[in-house]
């Protein structure tokens, strides 16, 4: 594969995939340790009604209203889960199940009832994303990376996803100590004077932000998979949190790159003509990574290793 083919068609999707994977995997480390791993799953279901409502209000498929709608829906879901959990005295898992299925059902119903036949807005697209379409048409080869005219034609998702990733990295880096202490020993963190509720809420908020940004670019399968699989695999590699975060970034990057390449070129190597879903393949590769870590990971069995 030459630069003339690779740069316009594959470079930007791979970069966006990697950014999305890292942005989700970083907060995922803490969610997995806090046993809140399914928050990513819940968020990626509830953004659907948010996006549909945003579309119904604005009447167009444009990015910002939809991102705002998705974020509002995620916020509403978190509040609803919390309210149902407290008011009804229901365990968190079941409360989450009630909220995200209902909101997703509402989104599907709204979508079916409204006239969206003229625009590209459907459930499959929301689930599976469209990583393959985020191509860089203005590029002609590696030289385009230095060509300002061509750079102006980069897909906007690249910048949004890059910014989101930087935001997530900054959050984890700035609040490393409180995050770490409150994750492992909430009581101790409280004694130290940390506001553990606030830390927990901001972790969920940052996760939601990463999920919504990634959802817009790559669809919800990658979001759910990247929140859980790389951090879970990393957890089986080491007992140290810093090392675990490092491993999770490596695994996320590996899954994104390998998954995209396998989806785009794998079928060609096997003699088929069309590529398969990159989002699905990235999730599959992350699952294989997790499977390997579960069988061979040095810290798979517990603290004794």
């Amino acid at each position: 594969m030459s630069g003339a083919e690779f740069v316009p068609l594959s470079l930007t999707p791979i970069l966006i995939g990697v950014f999305a994977a890292i942005a989700c995997a970083l907060p995922g480390n803490f969610l997995v340790l806090r046993r809140q791993a399914l928050i990513g799953d819940a968020i990626s279901h509830v953004v659907l009604p948010g996006i549909v409502v945003a579309f119904l209000i604005t009447g167009t498929v444009s990015t910002w209203p939809m991102m705002i709608g998705a974020a509002a829906a995620a916020l509403l879901a978190v509040l609803l889960i919390e309210a149902i959990r407290r008011l009804g005295g229901i365990e968190p898992g079941a409360a989450m199940g009630v909220v995200f299925t209902t909101m997703f059902a509402g989104g599907v119903l709204l979508l079916e009832r409204s006239d969206t036949s003229t625009v590209h807005l459907d459930v499959e697209h929301a689930l599976m994303g469209n990583l393959e379409s985020l191509i860089w048409l203005d590029a002609f080869g590696w030289g385009s990376l230095l060509d300002p005219e061509a750079l102006a034609g980069l897909p906007p998702e690249l910048f949004r996803m890059g910014l989101s990733m930087i935001g997530v990295i900054a959050f984890v880096w700035l609040f490393w100590r409180p995050l770490k202490i409150s994750t492992f020993d909430e009581g101790f963190a409280q004694v130290m004077g940390m506001r553990t509720n606030l830390i927990g809420m901001s972790l969920v908020a940052v996760s939601a932000l990463a999920a919504v940004a990634a959802f817009d670019a790559v669809g919800s399968i990658i979001v759910i998979a990247m929140f859980i699989c790389p951090p879970a695999a990393a957890r089986l590699m080491t007992n140290r949190l810093a090392a675990q975060v490092g491993w999770s970034v490596i695994f996320a990057t590996l899954s994104a790159v390998l998954g995209y390449v396998l989806a785009g070129y794998g079928p060609l190597w096997l003699g088929a003509e069309d590529s398969v879903s990159a989002a699905g393949m990235i999730a599959t590769v992350s699952g294989i990574v997790l499977g390997l870590a579960a069988v061979f990971g040095p810290a798979r069995g517990g603290t004794q290793g």
Partner: protein, 401 residues
């Protein structure tokens, strides 16, 4: 149109689907109860998402064997195989590694679903795959269903329900008290396996009606709703089944009554309406009942504190307290005690003193623990004990000039 649908007059297929959805909803409600009581509701999410690659593989295999590929029975068989694999994967990750169950669930559901999407894109490139309509299994679709498929769903729902009812006793016992069940000689792992098998059956039968993304709602919402109304296990499962069945029936009927009303979402939203109503209106555990309890408690505290203030001859500044006392005829609107008010105030002060003595007596530790500042002491001790307490009261003393 809706009335016709509710009374099963919309044709043979719609009737079969409505009956199937009712039976399925009932079975899901009962099965879901055991998951819910064991706090494993979300395992069903992993199982349902794990059906997708099975559907894809079944289609590919059936086409490769020269068949149609769209046979519902074949697709459901395939989905059951990968759903079982997904369940095994969750169990294996939880048992053999240190990952918590929620991580295992999330990993399995996303990876299996991702693999399923890959297979769906493969199918789209196959010649016979263009109108495969497999995406109808994502969200459920009963419109324009074949007669054989409708029969399959009705029969599947009935079979699942019968199996659930036959197997419910050991599942109740394990869900209610695992240790006791083990002591009685039940094999916990086997019972869990049976529960999960039933969850799989519900999922597979529900694929066409509700769709794989929303089937978990049928397993979660009815038991959570039923739990509001009763604390007894043997009623929770029945009530949960009824709620599930009614949601299934009403949802299927509404969906059949007009176009563009997808069955799965309507069933889920119907179930959620019942849930929301229960959350607010259920006696005892509902929000409304809690608010009423809270207000009543608040009033008792205000009246009690007001009476004590009257007894001490202190002015009452809290307007709400004065209002409550006035309404009960215990004080004038300006907070001065009436005859009845003075009597009640004296009694309140006496009670308070008696409680003080009671709480200082080691013999009455259990009774003293019931002190909350409002309970009349006569409801806690016998009249003999009260007389004994009264001997400790200070005798009247000469008032010095």
């Amino acid at each position: 149109m809706l009335w016709q649908a509710l009374t099963l007059q919309l044709g043979y297929n719609a009737t079969l689907v409505a009956i199937g959805a009712t039976l399925l909803g009932f079975a899901a409600g009962v099965t879901g109860t055991f998951l819910f009581l064991r706090r494993r509701s979300l395992v069903s999410d992993a199982i349902s998402h794990a059906t997708l690659p099975g559907v894809g593989l079944a289609f590919i295999v059936m086409v490769a064997l020269g068949g149609d590929g769209r046979s519902l029975a074949g697709l459901l068989t395939g989905s059951a195989v990968t759903a079982a694999l997904g369940l095994v994967a969750v169990q294996w990750l939880t048992r053999r590694t240190r990952l918590a169950e929620d991580s295992a669930i999330g990993a399995v559901l996303s990876v299996f679903f991702g693999l399923g999407v890959v297979l769906l894109t493969v199918i789209q490139t196959m010649e016979s795959g263009r109108q495969a309509g497999l995406d109808s299994l994502l969200l459920g679709s009963t419109a324009g269903m074949l007669r054989a498929d409708a029969l399959l769903i009705a029969a599947g729902g009935a079979l699942t329900l019968i199996l659930t009812l036959i197997l419910r006793r050991p599942m109740i016992m394990v869900a209610f008290d695992e240790d006791y069940a083990a002591a009685r000689g039940l094999n916990i792992r086997q019972v869990d396996l049976v529960t999960m098998g039933l969850v799989m059956a519900v999922t597979v039968v529900g694929l066409k009606v509700v769709g794989l993304i929303l089937i978990v709602a049928l397993l979660i919402i009815p038991p959570v709703t039923a739990r509001f109304w009763t604390d007894r296990t043997e009623r929770v499962w029945l009530l949960s089944g009824v709620i599930g069945g009614v949601s299934g029936f009403i949802g299927a009927a509404i969906s059949a009554s007009a176009p563009a009303l997808p069955t799965g979402p309507i069933i889920v939203l119907t179930g959620f309406s019942v849930f929301a109503a229960s959350l607010f209106l259920a006696p005892n555990r509902g929000v409304l009942a809690a608010i009423i309890r809270h207000v009543a408690f608040q009033r008792r505290v205000h009246v009690r504190q007001g009476l004590l203030a009257l007894a001490h001859g202190q002015p009452i500044y809290e307007r709400y307290t004065v209002r409550l006392l006035h309404r009960a005829g215990l004080s004038r609107p300006d907070g001065v005690a009436t005859e009845a008010g003075r009597a009640r105030a004296a009694k309140a002060l006496l009670d308070e003193k008696r409680w003080e003595i009671l709480r200082a007596m080691p013999d009455h530790e259990a009774a003293a623990a019931l002190y909350d500042g409002m309970r009349p002491i006569e409801t806690v001790v016998t009249s003999d004990q009260l007389a004994e307490i009264d001997t400790h009261l200070a005798a009247p003393q000469e008032v010095l000039a």
